[in-house]
């Protein structure tokens, strides 16, 4: 579920926009969704995932590395993504993550949830 809070504060995803010096605290699970979505296209390593999120969000979302790797390992543990060692674009050994079938299903589920949530929040913002 998207709207459950983890009691362990450290696993809360926080994205810090260093330029604007504003701090966007994302709900737990949002980072998971972003990672799954990023991997939907092609396998990437951890750094590329964070770069990709930052790039697509036009630097609004900067993924805290302290949250990225635990999240990757947790997703792998849940069987939604899998990892294998490959060679990066610069010729270094890197760990590439890709979506599993279960991960695809999970991405679909979470995308729906996300759409419903944002729609609901949007309605409240407009109509309340």
């Amino acid at each position: 579920m998207l709207l459950t809070f983890d009691t362990k504060a450290r696993t809360l995803v926080s994205a810090i926009d260093t330029k604007a010096m504003t701090r966007l605290d994302l709900l737990q699970g949002t980072l998971d969704l972003l990672i799954l979505r990023t991997l939907a296209g092609e396998p990437r390593h951890g750094w590329a995932i964070s770069e990709r999120i930052q790039q697509i969000s036009q630097d609004v979302l900067q993924v805290n590395q302290g949250s990225l790797y635990p999240a990757l390992h947790r997703l792998e543990d849940q069987g939604w993504i899998a990892a294998e060692w490959g060679v990066s674009e610069l010729g270094r050994r890197a760990r590439f993550y890709h979506l599993t079938a279960a991960g695809r299903r999970q991405l679909a589920r979470e995308s729906d949830e996300w759409a419903r949530l944002t729609a609901a929040v949007g309605r409240v913002m407009r109509l309340a």
Partner: protein, 874 residues
């Protein structure tokens, strides 16, 4: 959890380094990429690196979170617990050594007892597929267990489809190479049925049961081959003399096979050869009886089905016989083990198991007490950890790991202790046995093996966990606030637990000490008991009838032989048979034990004739005379003179026995003999003596030795072996039997004494430790009391009264337990007194004295507390 993640976790647990390295590589790569990115944006290398690291944050923290996310944290924590436990144990090495030592010793003792129990009751016989082996026996209509004769065997073997094979066995005792040996005469299929191969040579396989031959075969037992033939492989083809007949050694059974019975066998001969050795068996095996049958059930066959088939066969077979000899049913008993597991077998081991188990319990109580004290001492540490956020589960896990760490060395040490105790016990047994008994005592091999190790491990782990953890759990049940303030005083239950442990320890110690002192008095009483028979210089000589006259001739000319007499049943050694007796003119039968003795019997064994006369030579052949013991006279003629009375006798011998008393006979009582003790301690000393001759069948000779009896025994044995080789089956000193009757009590006494002493030592240590601990805990309180005017005497009384109260409760409980146990034992073991108040009182005094001694030094310390020092304490 998906199997892939399971597999990864297993990998992570087995090789934590790999996962750890992979994680480090991954994070390194990220940093490198980030640095590269900053460099590409125009930073110099050092700045780019610094920036990347700053952005990344705490690498260690990230790693830890990643590990957490992977679920391998458990392994890490356990390793940490282990390290912590090792440190905690290393900090208090004396405590750890005491706990490990206590558990090891107690577990070792129990494992030793288990080794014996396992060897006799649990371990299957060392033969092929022992679980399908069954012993057959048939019951007649009065429910008596009967043995089979040759025709029964042949018919059953032919007509029983439920069995793969049936073998017949009859046990025989002879002298072999100058000492006593027990063997089995067996049917030709015996070894094949059991799947026993020879160590060297061959077995009896395929040799005909029917025809007695001139030099029949013998297979030697492995132990006998080792001890009396020095393991010489040249023994095959040699001849050994059994009762004077040469037997050709064809082979040696493999090591580990010692027959199917509790007492290991020394040799095996074909059934057909029995007629050479036994007077009562005529030349054809068809007259053989007294056979035990061993059958191997066909696969898928149930014992009850096979049993009812055999019952039908036996009923049909015995239908033509007299009513008393007709079969009712055949019963099958598993022969998978040396002792058939039964209520009786377990009951026989129960007192031993209880005694050893109690010592273990005592040791565990000590460990629990130590753990409790340690738990209390560690409460500040635990409190601090609770305050720092450790959960109670986490602390309990820590304590479990510590307990397990203490249990592991205890397993190894306990196993080693078991091995030592068994070895030492067997050595001691043979060293302390009366010399002549050694030849009769054979033990099944006692080696602590994997089963014993498993038992040791289970017991050690259970005792360390239960008795290490229970007190620990209690010490984690405290609140953070109290613990950090150092207030533990309000924890009531550890004190209660401690008190009950002390009481239990004292109770167990006094129970075991009572057992030891009862057994001591019992063996002392037995060694002082008058048998009524002159045993000290008498030697019994058993030999077959066919060579009896030669034996008698040699004995008569031997200068060490003083007097010579004979009896049908060896005195002291065997239980006397009984006969039905009716007084002249009366039709009611009474059952009385009887023996047939020669004219010199009473004189030689020093049994006084209190009225009438002894047997004379004229009685020996067909004399219709009888002598009764005093007890028998009182019983049969309660108010009257036995002399001159007439009695009719009916012997209830089994079919085919060689006793010529078959049928009804009349005898006149000519004398009354003084009572003697009867074998097995039967309370009734009634015996009817009937006359017999030293030349009669089934007779045991008695010789009174001149000079030293040991020398005389050797002289007679050498003389007989030289001139009538093999004629003598047994040659024993009578005092051996007396010693043999006392020895079990003496051995039981020593075992009980060792256990009791150990229990006492453990209790003393436990009581001492607890009182010392309580005094240390109450130092401040006692200091305040002294400061307020309490004298040393008040303190002394306060400490002692508490201890004494606990000790008295414990001793009382122990006495009650001992009383109950004595009742149970008295009904199970012959000659055990129901309750021995002197022994119980002695035990109680010893235990109480030990308790007082145990608290002496802590009490003294309590009285010397200096209030100034005590109040500054902490």
């Amino acid at each position: 959890m998906r199997w892939r993640s399971v597999a990864r976790r297993v990998r992570a647990i087995l090789r934590p380094g790999n996962a750890e390295r992979a994680l480090a590589d991954e994070l390194d790569f990220h940093l490198a990429m980030q640095t590269e990115k900053h460099r590409a944006a125009g930073m110099d290398a050092a700045d780019a690196d610094l920036r990347a690291r700053l952005e990344f944050g705490n690498v260690g923290l990230v790693k830890e979170d990643a590990r957490d996310a992977r679920g391998t944290q458990f392994v890490d924590d356990t390793m940490r617990d282990l390290r912590y436990a090792v440190r905690a144990i290393a900090r208090t090495p004396v405590f750890a050594l005491t706990v490990v030592g206590t558990i090891s010793l107690a577990v070792g003792l129990n494992a030793a007892a288990f080794t014996v129990f396992d060897a006799y009751v649990l371990r299957p016989l060392d033969v092929r597929d022992p679980s399908s082996l069954y012993a057959l026996a048939w019951l007649d209509r009065s429910g008596r267990v009967r043995s089979f004769d040759w025709s029964d065997y042949v018919t059953l073997r032919r007509a029983s489809p439920g069995y793969t094979a049936i073998a017949a066995v009859r046990t025989i005792a002879v002298r072999l190479r100058g000492s006593n040996a027990v063997g089995d005469a067996v049917s030709s299929n015996y070894f094949e049925l059991l799947g026993v191969v020879p160590a060297i040579g061959s077995t009896l396989a395929g040799r005909d049961d029917q025809s007695p031959v001139d030099a029949p075969d013998v297979v030697l037992g492995h132990a006998l081959w080792q001890s009396r033939f020095g393991g010489d492989s040249g023994v095959v083809g040699q001849h050994v003399l059994l009762r004077g007949h040469p037997f050709r050694v064809v082979g040696v059974a493999r090591a580990g096979f010692e027959g199917l019975y509790k007492k290991p066998r020394d040799f095996w001969i074909p059934l057909g050869a029995l007629s050479l050795l036994d007077d009562s068996i005529r030349s054809t095996p068809a007259t053989l009886d007294g056979l035990s049958l061993i059958g191997r059930l066909a696969p898928g066959e149930s014992p009850s089905k096979a049993g009812s088939a055999a019952s039908a066969t036996m009923r049909a077979l015995t239908a033509p016989r007299p009513a008393a000899d007709r079969a009712d049913r055949v019963i099958l008993t598993s022969r998978a083990r040396a002792i058939t597991p039964s209520i009786g077998a377990y009951a026989a081991f129960a007192p031993i198991a209880i005694a050893f188990g109690l010592v273990l319990l005592l040791a565990c109580a000590n460990v629990a007490n130590m753990m409790l004290a340690r738990g209390l001492a560690r409460q500040r540490e635990l409190g601090v950890r609770l305050a720092l956020g450790a959960t109670r589960a986490r602390l309990v896990r820590q304590l479990v790991v510590e307990s397990l760490l203490l249990a592991l060395p205890a397993i190894g040490l306990g196993f080693a202790a078991a091995w030592l105790i068994v070895t030492f016990g067997v050595r001691t047994l043979f060293a302390t046995l009366p010399h002549d008994l050694v030849a009769f005592v054979r033990l099944v091999p006692l080696h602590p093996d994997a089963r014993v190790l498993a038992y040791t491990a289970a017991v050690a782990l259970a005792s360390a966990l239960i008795f290490g953890l229970a007190p620990s759990l209690q010490s984690t049940r405290l609140s953070v606030v109290e613990a950090t303030r150092g207030e533990f005083g309000r924890l009531g239950s550890p004190a209660k637990l401690r008190t009950s442990l002390i009481i239990a320890q004292v109770a167990i110690a006094s129970l075991l000490m009572t057992a030891a002192s009862v057994l001591l008095r019992q063996s002392a009483r037995l060694s002082g008991v008058e048998t009524g028979i002159r045993t000290r210089d008498v030697i019994s000589v058993e030999s077959g009838l066919d060579r009896r006259s030669d034996v008698l001739r040699r004995l008569n000319v031997n200068p060490v032989v003083g007097l010579l007499a004979a009896a049908a049943t060896p005195v002291l050694d065997a239980n006397l048979p009984t006969l039905a007796l009716s007084r002249g003119g009366s039709s009611t039968d009474v059952s009385v034990a009887y023996n047939r003795v020669s004219s010199g019997f009473f004189g030689l064994l020093g049994i006084p004739i209190v009225a009438g006369r002894a047997f004379q030579a004229s009685d020996e052949v067909g004399g219709e005379t009888a002598i009764v013991s005093e007890a028998a006279a009182r019983r049969i003629w309660p108010a009257g003179n036995a002399i001159g009375q007439t009695i009719s006798l009916r012997v209830r011998g089994e079919r085919g026995t060689a006793d010529s008393l078959d049928g009804v006979r009349v005898a006149h009582v000519v004398g009354v003999a003084r009572d003697v003790i009867t074998p097995g301690g039967a309370s009734d000393a009634s015996i009817i003596y009937l006359p017999t001759s030293p030349r009669a069948a089934a007779c045991c000779l008695f010789v009174r030795a001149r000079g030293d009896v040991a020398v005389a025994q050797r002289t007679i044995a050498a003389d007989l072996d030289r001139f009538v080789p093999g004629a003598v089956d047994r040659l024993d000193r009578l005092d051996t039997f007396v010693a043999g009757a006392i020895y079990p009590y003496r051995a039981a006494y020593w075992v009980a004494l060792v256990l009791g002493g150990l229990a006492l030592a453990l209790s003393v240590a436990g009581v001492h430790g607890v009182i010392a601990y309580i005094v240390a805990q109450r130092t401040r309180e006692i200091g305040v009391r002294i400061a307020l005017g309490a004298t040393a005497r008040d303190v002394l009384i306060a400490v002692l009264s508490q201890t004494t109260r606990h000790a008295l409760i414990g001793v009382g409980a122990g006495a009650v337990l001992a009383l109950g146990l004595a009742r149970a034992l008295a009904s199970a073991v012959q000659q055990m007194p129901g309750f021995d108040p002197v022994a119980a009182l002695a035990a109680i005094v010893i235990v109480l004295a030990a308790c007082i001694a145990a608290v002496a030094s802590p009490t003294r310390r309590a009285t010397r507390i200096d209030p100034n020092v005590a109040l500054r304490y902490e």
